[in-house]
Symmetry: C2
């Protein structure tokens, strides 16, 4: 005896899950359940702006319920999925059990240290709002400590910032710290000489931004150097501790290390009867379902999809967004008895931004650098904040920042909230 | 051998400290040091809006350095003062030692449980940004849990909110939760019936808002009831635990208790050779200095100042602001050889807001209720956000909220930031 309506369970409310839900939410013949352990969808491409005190968390995150409130066949559950039974077609978690007819798994990725997990307390990554707030706290606290100390060595250490990983996130973080120290903060401190601030971007490979054209990398390196960032390529970090880090024999005394060197797919993929690559991504068929289970789809950063050159598609928002729409439409067609179409990624190009007026854009038929690239970056990001009421607010905030060199969210917020914290775990900073 | 320039040390960057610094920062013959353990000044009158997801922390907080960056004779130190030696004229803390010629102590107050400190994990107060974020997390999580559960008793418990304390903060919190459940959230949930949401405001005294006229209290009670808030007066809470609270024999099952029932002055007052009242406020002379030490001033919520009726001045922003300016000007006159003037509080009235379109205003010669009072409340608060670049942003955000009934900052942000939290204290919620 079949259910009256087929039920689709979507796990994960990122770009993939949200966009699948938007398509499927229009099909009253389906019952739709979206499960996410957060109550909000996060616009991850702007997460570094929260870490760098340019935006507030609420500017780039919206409740999933609100974004999908127009779809009456959809139920949103805030909960943690921890079991998948593909034979019984059930997912389970802290909310109980859910049967499904279709399962869409889009739980994304987290940053990873690949055997050096002990580095995490010293070098936070940037995948969540909590991590962005933590990075903000550390960067701003370093300047405060530099201002306060009378020891020149300690001041130098506090004013040295290391970013590990030369991909777009590392470049964005390094550029933003360089700019903040040279412009925003310079006016507010008395003892700190901003010229003493060192920002070092450490990349193990031959060059930063390896997914871009080499000429673009050269331009980005030049732009970073203008902001006082030193770019160390072919440099592999061998240890990170309380006092700084080592690159082979070389020792760098630094109070702040940020990790942008690698991600690993969400652990939920391990529960599927499917192959995974070394970073945990699940191998999928051309239609994004897993082999032997056409009713189970894997999308976004959790999926391993190869492009026509045999290279994996990058873990970026446009891929996830297009995959979400694809699976949504595929299920829609299938309900009408049509055959499945394979997923094809329409590559609209890639971009990275360096500070407040420079970027690089590498799109089919279009390569931009400098100010024009930055304007394009800004417009595209504001466009894609769509469904977000805050689009106007973000625009105004950026306009202010641009004119004043200010940063609106320069708050050092602590972790504990209690006034009588003697017995509260977590109110102490375990790393600083 | 005297110092070349007299040094004024201000401890605390709230309304009192900040406004004293603004006056004294214009006197190049002084050396000014402001110490605060936070890097920001907080606009506390709007803190409940952060707790209720209407505003983001950065909307109501600005770096102290930025607010005072125009004053070149001023140094800001982020640090914790823990010792005061009034004989040697020194303050000490994690930043080292500082000599002073004048000391201004304005470290404010924190919420207090008066012997029931064990209640704190179950009933957070609202004095800091961290506490506001924690309250936001609890309130929003309660709705998520109510949506998720199938147990009607548990759903009822999650949808019951108790606010202890019927002063302006308690009234504002109760009104905002009532409104949020009836308007904002009603559209986004599927299982939760907003009519089931109970908000109970518990006051031990005869009536809520005792500092207002009795007719105003009646109006505010009516306004609260319109928003679904039940007002329990003459009700003393006798216990608070994981499952709810007790008022004498009566038991209330609730998942969320908020504490707005009392504050205690900052502990730093204990280091002064001066009398204190039962909530720790320091008794001061007419000029706000302490007896026997004309060079030591106590201001803001930490000071006990009586009005002409012999009642203590309330712990509100206008009192602190006027005291800061007073002491600033007093030192300025004294440097010119003039005698000290006593502090006189110019009472411009008081106000409380209830939901999104009602308030009460009680000012000399002016009593307003309903919509007009709310408009006055809004204008005055936006005016006093002055020095804040965000004034326009706050206005736009409120305009949006007003039109859409939305709440821009409905994020449940966790406490821990690490992806590998096995060994991280504080990533678990100790109360829920």
């Amino acid at each position: 005896m079949a259910q009256a309506r087929k039920r689709v369970v979507i796990v994960g409310g990122g770009f993939a899950g949200l966009n699948a839900a938007k398509v499927l939410g229009n099909l009253p013949e389906l019952e739709l359940v979206l499960v996410d352990r957060r109550n909000y969808h996060l616009f991850q491409p702007l997460l570094y702006q929260v870490a760098m005190a340019g935006l507030s968390p609420a500017d780039i995150a919206r409740p999933i319920r609100t974004l999908l409130s127009g779809h009456r066949n959809l139920r949103v559950i805030q909960g943690q999925v921890d079991g998948i039974d593909v034979c019984a077609r059930k997912v389970s978690g802290d909310f109980g059990q859910l049967d499904y007819d279709y399962l869409l798994l889009a739980t994304g990725a987290q940053h990873a240290y690949f055997g050096n997990e002990a580095w995490e307390p010293h070098a936070p990554g940037l995948k969540t709002l909590e991590q962005a707030t933590e990075i903000r706290r550390r960067v701003l606290t370093a300047f405060e400590k530099a201002e306060r100390t009378d020891d020149p060595e300690e001041r130098k250490r506090q004013l040295t910032f290391a970013i590990v990983g030369g991909g777009p996130t590392g470049v964005e973080l390094a550029g933003a710290i360089g700019e903040m120290s040279r412009f925003t903060l310079a006016r507010d401190f008395r003892n700190v000489d901003p010229k003493l601030t060192r920002v070092i971007l450490i990349e193990a490979g031959e060059r930063i931004l390896p997914s871009f054209d080499a000429a673009m990398t050269a331009r980005a390196t030049r732009d970073l150097e203008t902001l006082g960032v030193q770019v160390w390529t072919r440099s592999r970090v061998t240890s990170i501790d309380d006092e700084g880090l080592s690159v082979g024999e070389e020792r760098l005394a630094t109070a702040t290390v940020l990790w942008a060197a690698g991600v690993r797919a969400s652990g939920l993929g391990e529960q599927l009867p499917a192959e995974r690559d070394r970073v945990g991504r699940v191998k999928v068929e051309g239609d994004l379902s897993i082999a032997g289970h056409p009713e189970v789809f894997v999308l976004g950063d959790l999926a391993l999809v190869l492009d026509h050159d045999g290279k994996p598609l990058p873990g970026v928002a446009p891929v996830a967004l297009q995959q979400g729409r694809h699976v949504g439409r595929l299920i829609e067609s299938e309900l009408k008895g049509k055959a499945r179409a394979p997923f094809r990624y329409l590559d609209k190009g890639q971009m990275a931004t360096i500070g407040r007026s420079r970027a690089i854009v590498d799109a089919p038929g279009l390569r931009l650098r400098g100010w024009l690239a930055w304007a394009a970056w800004l417009l595209i990001h504001i466009y894609y904040l769509s469904g977000f009421r805050n689009r106007l607010l973000v625009l105004i905030q950026w306009a202010f920042s641009y004119v004043t060199f200010g940063r609106g969210a320069r708050l050092i917020v602590e972790k504990g909230w209690r006034s009588y914290p003697d017995d509260e775990p977590g109110s102490k900073d375990e790393a600083a």
